[in-house]
Symmetry: C2
Subunit: 228 residues, 2 copies
DNA sequence: CATCAATTTAAACACCTGTTTGAAATGTAC
DNA sequence: GTACATTTCAAACAGGTGTTTAAATTGATG
């Protein structure tokens, strides 16, 4: 029933590759069933609808990743001494890379899918995610707040969203970027390399000094008043 | 012919709102012509195809923005003394905000469209952009390279793309973010405020110290060898 | 007003979409 | 082997997609 060559499994495998590559909206059920070599109707038979298939594809990774993250966050929160921002962000690395045990290239595929979830218009996915895993991410916010006590809450809010954008966008366009990078710099770069390049970037960004300039109009007033 | 209520203009206006909101693939010509209150066939008559319409929507902003950026980049490159990273990034602010003269909320809409061009699978757009404006962005890379001489070229490539992701994602979800921010922190924030918050974030991120760790496997070998 | 080009229009084109149907095939238990 | 539930299958469904066609309308020029 749940063996590796069952119809369900073949559909999930085919779907995740195509979803990651061309997005949820850009992938048709016929493409999926054709790649999986199963009948078109079997998607609706086994998963109900395309929406539920999308959620099932993501759930395969989330049920592994989120408990691991929750465990790490809880561990850091229980620490006596202050955690550095680098320490907080580093706890993502190991749980993310363990997704390679779920499936070949699991880490890359999952992050790509996550990006698709934000950039494709998939309202049901956002609800699904917040409803099931919102509490885990609350712990992350708390940890970053402790690591950067000098940051006002509003500034932290924006910077965490900036960072989410960095990750999500990078993963959504991952293929293209890796292609260009390998052609231009003759470096073979995998998902692990990208994650390791992200860490110092995000650490420095989130902990950046807060700007004293609050209004552009103060420095260049002629622009701010026009055309809006 | 080119007046504000011509069929062409009405199509471009309707198209840019829908494209920004639901992406290029997620928007149908019938939605566009319905919102613009013109006949369906007029899109193909005036623009040729949907692809060319997408390019025309972006071109309206690019022909304003890119010469301005080019001019600023050239000015900075001609300077005798070294430019700081902050100075380099700051030259984006004024040209971007001037897009509000092209159209109401032009800055936000343009940045949203730019993001859609990357996340939707639009190969023709990438070609169109590189072919027409590749040389301008080469100057930017040169400027950042001069401002951060310690950064290897490949590291700089990735960080510039990370930064593009930050900007694009933030603008794509700008409406929602501003709403939450205003409700939670009682601050009124517009596109200008967001751009000003981005500057120190991106400056610190791009200039971050380069990690000495090049392979995660060096620190946790048991993970790297499994499942890939 | 007549002529000719530019534009708008409704209709149809061929193809793709997710989903449903009912019969055929397969697996399972007695 | 017979009965029953599970799964597979080809076909059709209703609706959407970008694009094309040819006729109707409009605009400008002489």
């Amino acid at each position: 029933m749940a063996n590796k060559h069952s119809t369900q499994h073949k559909i999930l495998d085919a779907a995740q590759s195509l979803f990651a590559e061309t997005g949820f909206n850009g992938t048709s059920l016929r493409q999926i069933t054709s790649l999986a070599e199963v009948n078109l109707a079997s998607v609706n038979y086994h998963f109900g609808s395309k929406k539920e298939l999308i959620q099932a594809v993501l759930q395969r990774y989330l049920v592994v990743l989120m408990p691991r993250l929750d465990q790490e966050f809880t561990r850091l929160l229980a620490m006596q001494q202050q955690n550095s921002l680098n320490q907080v962000l580093s706890v993502f690395v190991s749980p993310l890379l363990e997704l390679n045990k779920v499936h070949q290239n699991g880490t890359r595929v999952f992050l790509q899918l996550l990006g698709r979830g934000y950039t494709d218009v998939q309202g049901h996915l956002r609800w699904f995610f917040n409803h099931n895993y919102g509490r885990v991410l609350d712990k992350l916010v708390l940890l970053v707040q402790q690591a950067c006590p000098q940051l006002p809450a509003s500034e932290l809010f924006w910077r965490l969203h900036f960072s989410l954008g960095t990750v999500v966008f990078t993963m959504a366009s991952n293929e293209a970027l890796v292609e260009i990078a390998e052609a231009d710099f003759d470096e073979s770069i995998d998902i692990e390399g990208v994650i390791l390049r992200l860490l110092p970037y995000l650490s420095a960004a989130i902990a950046a000094p807060v700007s004293t300039v609050t209004q552009f109009s103060q420095t260049m007033p002629m622009l701010a008043s026009e055309g809006r």
